[in-house]
């Protein structure tokens, strides 16, 4: 390539020269944690927490999801920009949920006969 100019503007495109290799041990530990948390999900289900059951199950799932994203998908060691990009997806999902729920909470909850 003709261009050997090192002053390039694309941010983060040449931040770290090689690829980050996540140690073998971390993968095994993360998988173990995921399996433990899966058992925890079922355990809490047996406790019959009533109204708390759904939030607890969701919370455990969120922790598991975070582990998968950070280590298996390597987001922890990735570009800041890629982290922001992936975060954006969840943010706009929340927007979709927020406004749809706002409408339905103030409408259907009051009129549904089912």
């Amino acid at each position: 390539m003709a261009n050997t100019n090192s002053q390039h503007s694309g941010h983060g495109s040449s931040g770290h020269g090689g690829h980050h290799i996540i140690p073998f041990q971390i993968y095994i530990k993360v998988a173990a944690a995921l399996i433990v948390l899966t058992f925890a999900t079922v355990f809490f289900h047996w406790l019959h927490l009533g109204a708390l059951a759904a939030p607890v199950a969701f919370l455990i799932a969120a922790v598991k999801a975070a582990l998968v994203m950070l280590f298996f998908m390597g987001l922890k060691y990735d570009d800041k920009l890629n982290q922001v990009i992936f975060g954006c997806g969840f943010f706009f999902l929340l927007v979709l949920f927020g406004f749809s729920a706002l409408d339905i909470w103030t409408r259907i909850k009051e009129i549904s006969t089912l």
Partner: protein, 532 residues
């Protein structure tokens, strides 16, 4: 792969370097893919335009003319679906964007050339699938596919909806490609704040394409599931909610409105500064207002649903947030005006279209604020006022800018000049015709004429007749444009590298550019609009 045999015409460029149809259909060159999109979009524009002319002809007089009510609904659906999904959404990004984004930032190509070609094939597959329903069972739902009618009607909704899903995938791939291109492929020295404003607009559009289209995807899949499996999510009999369909649909389709208009604003920024021979006023404000519009667009979709039965509280919240859209939009308007101030303005055909854009978009924008107000919207909703409003934005805005951009970049794309006086004449036809067609519709709407109907009461006759005559003027204008294009291609003089005296990178290379865009990789040392 074609062979390199272009020596007879002197210089080698992206058009003549490779020969044969196969070299086009397998080309990974963003410029060639842009041209392929251009031909496809023009074809679908012709179809959608014919449908529009048919509708206006039917509405010339009250009572049925030559279409049955069912046929009218079908023509209306095809006009809307074709114009939205196959013309206005891909129009500027896929044609002009594909061609000029890499040139603007000093790159050799987009980040993923193969994906770029694939997105054209995906688009064509979806578009032809959609068109195929015209020969099987014409659909009559309107382009919005509202439930519960879209679940009950016996027409080819599933095919059409899957086609829209596929075209959505193409749109996502284009957007994804553009975002990575902007992030990663800028030439040395081309900082984000030295990018042309057209690139900023395409960048904001691409973000919308990636973030909004997937929700349309799942909505359409759920509609298919509803029709085939009867899952009940949108069916009140099972406790589902048809209004939820509208929420999901407009979560995409409102940002899609900005997918249509943001690139147009980018084109206009280029035109205004070039033909005023003056540095653009408020570069940063214009650049970030594009992102601002993109951001706000995700919070306002409920203003399409004021009379859908959504809760009053939701309506009030959406009404207030919608007003915010006016802020970044006005920022752009005022910066363009300030750019014109004391500039050396030359009224060449691209500039005429840019001025036309500003005039028509101002009307479209201000009537938009009227519709954002919950109380007035209840009166105007589903009348011709709304029809006029969004045509002022989508045709008066996006198509005007597309035409302006097309006349501006034509010399660069094809290396030929066109007939300038004829080009100005096309503007006059389209601009006058547009106002004659759509301004009366504001009055008709205020008088209460409902939209989407095949018939109307005699009181609305005279304004409808004027509107129909206007549609013929617009049609003439576009046909004339086609003539200008063909004549320019065949007999036009050779275009210089920079016919307008512009400052952006694409004008530093020969017209038309070579296959790899730049002979020497550019190193950027200044902003895009340093005129004085």
């Amino acid at each position: 792969m074609g062979t390199t045999t272009a020596t007879h015409s002197g210089e080698i460029n992206y058009i003549n370097e490779f020969k044969g149809l196969k070299s086009w259909f397998t080309s990974l060159d963003h410029k060639r893919i842009g041209l392929m999109y251009m031909i496809s979009v023009m074809f679908f524009f012709l179809l959608g335009g014919l449908a529009a002319l048919l509708l206006r002809l039917e509405l010339l007089k009250p009572g049925g003319q030559f279409l049955t009510p069912d046929q009218y609904n079908q023509v209306l659906t095809y006009h809307g679906a074709i114009m939205v999904f196959m013309v206005i959404i891909p129009g500027i990004p896929a044609v002009l964007g594909n061609f000029f984004l890499p040139l603007h930032i000093g790159a050799k190509d987009v980040a993923f050339p193969r994906l770029n070609l694939a997105s054209w094939y995906v688009f064509m597959f979806g578009a032809l699938l959609a068109a195929s329903t015209m020969f099987t069972s014409k659909i009559d739902t309107g382009w919005t596919f509202y439930t519960p009618y879209s679940i009950k009607t016996g027409t080819a909704v599933v095919t059409m909806v899957l086609a829209a899903f596929i075209m959505g995938m193409s749109s996502i791939l284009t957007g994804l490609n553009f975002i990575v291109t902007v992030h990663k492929l800028r030439a040395p020295g081309m900082t984000m704040h030295r990018m042309p404003l057209f690139v900023w607009a395409l960048y904001s559009t691409a973000i919308l394409q990636v973030l909004a289209t997937p929700v349309l995807g799942i909505t359409l899949l759920l509609l298919v599931a509803e029709r085939t499996l009867g899952v009940g999510i949108f069916d009140p009999a099972l406790g589902g909610d048809p209004v939820l369909f509208q929420h999901f649909f407009w979560f995409y389709s409102h940002p899609a409105v900005y997918i249509m208009i943001l690139p147009a604003m980018g084109v206009v920024s280029e035109l205004i500064t070039t033909f005023s021979k003056k540095t653009i006023f408020g570069y940063t404000a214009i650049a970030y207002s594009s992102l601002g519009i993109a951001g706000v667009s995700f919070f306002v979709w409920g203003h399409h649903m004021f009379v859908s039965g959504q809760s009053e509280i939701a309506g009030i919240v959406f009404s207030f947030i919608t007003m915010l859209v006016g802020v970044p939009t006005a920022i752009k308007m005022f910066n363009w005006l300030a750019t014109l101030y004391k500039g050396s303005i030359s009224f060449q055909s691209p500039m005429l279209y840019a001025m036309g854009f500003m005039f028509l978009f101002a009307i479209g924008g201000v009537t938009g604020i009227m519709l954002a107000v919950l109380a007035t919207d209840v009166h105007f909703h589903d009348t011709y006022f709304v029809v006029a409003h969004f045509h002022y934005v989508m045709v008066g805005g996006t198509l005007m800018a597309l035409m302006g951009g097309f006349y501006y970049w034509f010399p660069k794309m094809f290396g030929k000049m066109y007939n300038e006086s004829l080009a100005r004449l096309t503007f006059i036809f389209i601009f006058v015709g547009f106002n004659v067609t759509f301004f009366p519709q504001f009055i008709l709407g205020a008088m209460g004429m409902p939209r989407r109907y095949f018939d109307y009461i005699p009181a609305y006759q005279s304004l409808n007749a004027i509107s129909t005559v206007g549609s013929w003027l617009i049609g003439t204008g576009f046909l004339l444009s086609l003539y200008v294009l063909v004549q320019g291609l065949r007999k036009g003089e050779k275009a210089p590298a920079n016919p307008w005296g512009s400052k952006t990178l694409e004008w530093t290379v020969p017209s038309p550019p070579i296959h790899t865009n730049f002979e020497v990789d550019p190193i950027v040392k200044a902003g895009p609009y340093e005129y004085k």
